[in-house]
C-alpha cells in the first residue's frame, strides 16, 4: 500500500487520457505534462500509459508500506525521501516505511510520481484510469486523492538509480493560428504574438487563463464547435483561455490559435503570475517538435534498458 498522508492541493491519478468518448461530452482528462509522465514510466520500464500521480503545487506526503522503485519527473517540487533530497527526473528505491514528501517551488507547478509496475486494482472507466474531477469518475472513486487514501502496489526489489535529462521548460509557446484570428483587426492579430501574457489565478486543469495589456475585448460570436487541449479561445472580455485536458468537448468562443502538442507541457507548468509568449509556427514545425520529443523518449528507453542489463 501507498498511504496518502497529506494530499496537497490537487493530487490525482492520471494516465494518457480518455479517448474516443468526446462525442458523448466526455473530457479527455489525463496527465497535463505527457513528456514528464511518460519519462517517469520509462525510467521504471512501465508501459508509457501506466497511471501515475499528478501533483499540483506540492505540499503532499506519501508513505510506502512495501519496498518498491519509483520515479519523479516534471517540475522540481523539492521532493525528499525520508528527509533526503531527491533529484527530479530520477528513479529511486523506497524501503517499507519510507516517506516521500513534496514541498513547493516558484518555478514549476506539476510533478509526476510513478511507481514500478503501477498501482494495482485501479478501475478503468471508458478505457482510462484518469480522474475526471468534474464528472466524478476515474482515478480513486472519481475524486482527487485525499488524506488517508491508500493505493495498492506490488513489492519490488532494489533497482539502481538512474536519471533522465529532460528538455527544459521555457516560456515560449509555439502556436498554429486558429480559424477565427482573422476576425480580429490586423494590429490585434499581431499583438497576440508580440506581447507577453500573464497567467491568472483562475487557471486549472480545464484551462490556463491569460491576460495582458492588450485589449482584445470583442462582441464576435461563433456557433459552438469541437475544442480540445491546446485550443486558444477568446471570450468577449478579451482574456484568452488556453484549454487543457479537463476542458469541455465543445466551446462557443472564437478560436484564435492552437498550442502545438509538444508545447502543452510548458503551459501545464505555469503558475499564476508567471508570463509566457506565443510564437507562430506552421504544421511542419509542430510535427518536427513532436518527432523530437518521440526521439527523446526512444533514446531514454534504450538508455534505461541498457542500464538495467548492466546492473543485473
Amino acid at each position: 500500500m501507498l498511504t496518502i498522508l497529506k494530499s496537497g492541493i490537487q493530487t490525482c491519478i492520471q494516465d494518457l487520457g480518455r479517448m474516443g468518448f468526446r462525442h458523448l461530452g466526455v473530457s479527455q482528462s489525463g496527465v497535463l505534462d505527457q513528456l514528464a509522465a511518460k519519462s517517469a514510466n520509462i525510467l521504471l520500464s512501465n508501459p508509457k500509459d501506466t497511471p501515475v500521480i499528478e501533483i499540483t503545487v506540492g505540499l503532499c506526503q506519501f508513505k510506502f508500506n512495501k519496498p518498491t522503485n519509483f520515479a519523479i519527473t516534471g517540475a522540481d517540487l523539492c521532493a525528499k525521501l525520508s528527509g533526503q533530497a531527491l533529484i527530479t527526473g530520477w528513479r529511486y528505491h523506497a524501503n517499507e516505511g519510507d516517506i516521500l514528501t513534496f514541498a513547493t517551488s516558484k518555478t514549476g507547478l506539476r510533478a509526476y510520481f510513478a511507481i514500478q509496475n503501477g498501482f494495482s486494482s485501479l478501475p478503468s472507466v471508458m478505457n482510462s484510469c484518469s480522474t475526471d474531477i468534474q464528472a466524478g469518475f476515474g482515478g480513486l472513486s472519481g475524486k482527487a486523492l485525499s488524506d488517508g487514501d491508500e493505493l495498492d502496489y506490488a513489492a519490488n526489489s532494489v533497482l539502481s538509480s538512474i536519471g533522465a535529462a529532460l528538455p527544459e521548460y521555457t516560456d515560449t509557446i509555439r502556436v498554429i493560428a486558429g480559424p477565427h484570428i482573422d476576425l480580429l483587426a490586423k494590429d490585434k492579430q499581431q499583438s497576440v504574438f508580440e506581447k507577453s501574457w500573464q497567467v491568472l489565478p483562475q487557471s486549472n486543469r480545464m484551462g490556463v487563463r491569460l491576460s495582458s495589456e492588450i485589449d482584445l475585448a470583442h462582441d464576435l460570436s461563433i456557433a459552438s464547435q469541437g475544442v480540445c487541449p491546446g485550443t486558444i479561445q477568446l471570450p468577449p472580455n478579451g482574456e484568452p483561455i488556453v484549454l487543457l485536458n479537463d476542458c469541455q468537448t465543445t466551446g462557443g468562443y472564437p478560436i484564435i490559435g492552437q498550442v502545438i502538442e509538444a508545447d502543452l507541457r510548458l503551459l501545464s507548468q505555469l503558475s499564476a503570475g508567471q508570463t509566457c509568449n506565443f510564437v507562430a509556427v506552421d504544421r511542419a514545425q509542430a510535427l518536427e517538435a513532436t518527432t523530437q520529443q518521440l526521439q527523446h523518449l526512444a533514446q531514454l528507453e534504450i538508455a534505461v534498458q541498457h542500464h538495467n542489463k548492466k546492473n543485473t
Partner: protein, 218 residues
C-alpha cells in the same frame, strides 16, 4: 448544394463547417451521415459533431491534408438518407416539484401548464450534439412558443434527470450539476452510466420523444 468551409485546426483536427446559423433537417442528417462515414474510416480518435460543424481528431498527425480532401469528397457525395437514427421515449413527470420552473414558464409564455406539457411532448427531437457534461444531449428544435432565454442566475444544483428548456433547445441533465436552463420536468431514465461500455443512451443524431407521466401536472 450547401456552403461549407473545411480546414485543419492545429496539428490534427479536421473541421467541416456549414456556414449558416441553422441547419435544415437535410443538412443535419447529412452531417450525421458524414459522422458515420468518418467512424468507418478508423483514422479518427474522436469525432465531435456540434451545431454547424463536425471535428475529427486524427490518430496520427502525418497526413491531415489527405484526410481533409477525403472528408470534403465524402461530404459532397454523401446521402442523408443513409443515416437511420435510433428512437428513444423518455417517460417524464412534468411540473410540481419535478419541474419547478413550469409555472414561471407558463406565465412568461402566456400558456397554461398543460399547454406547455403538450407542446413539449407532442414533437420528436433530434440529438444535435452532446457536450457540457458527459451525456448532456442538446435536443432540437423546441416549439417556437416555448423559446425563452436561460435563467438570469443559474442554479448551483440542478438534480440529475431534470428535463429543461433554453432558447430553441431542450435537454435532460444526465447528472447533478450547476445549470441555467428552465426546469419543467423530471425523468427517472438513466442517461449516462460511466461503467457501461456504451455509457450514453443518447448518441448524436438519435431521436427523442418525451412521454408525459400521469403522475405530475397532467
Amino acid at each position: 448544394m450547401t456552403n461549407n468551409k473545411i480546414y485543419i485546426l492545429g496539428e490534427r483536427a479536421l473541421v467541416l463547417e456549414i456556414t449558416q446559423s441553422n441547419l435544415s433537417q437535410y443538412q443535419q442528417n447529412k452531417l450525421f451521415a458524414l459522422h458515420a462515414w468518418m467512424r468507418e474510416q478508423k483514422v479518427f480518435i474522436d469525432i465531435v459533431p456540434a451545431k454547424t460543424t463536425i471535428t475529427g481528431y486524427l490518430m496520427h498527425s502525418q497526413d491531415p491534408e489527405y484526410w481533409l480532401d477525403k472528408m470534403q469528397d465524402a461530404w459532397q457525395n454523401i446521402e442523408p438518407e443513409s443515416f437511420e437514427p435510433t428512437v428513444h421515449t423518455i417517460l417524464t413527470h412534468y411540473g410540481k416539484h419535478y419541474g419547478p420552473d413550469l409555472q414561471s414558464v407558463a406565465s412568461l409564455t402566456g400558456l397554461s401548464q398543460s399547454q406547455i406539457v403538450e407542446l413539449h411532448s407532442q414533437c420528436s427531437y433530434q440529438v444535435k450534439f452532446l457536450g457540457f457534461l458527459p451525456g448532456f444531449a442538446y435536443l432540437g428544435d423546441l416549439h417556437p412558443q416555448l423559446h425563452l432565454p436561460r435563467l438570469e442566475s443559474p442554479r448551483t444544483h440542478v438534480p440529475k434527470g431534470s428535463v429543461a428548456i433554453a432558447q430553441d433547445l431542450t435537454a435532460v441533465y444526465p447528472s447533478e450539476s450547476p445549470g441555467g436552463w428552465r426546469l419543467i420536468g423530471h425523468t427517472d431514465t438513466v442517461l449516462f452510466n460511466h461503467n457501461l461500455d456504451s455509457p450514453s443512451i443518447l448518441q448524436p443524431g438519435d431521436v427523442v420523444k418525451f412521454l408525459p407521466s400521469t403522475e405530475g401536472i397532467c
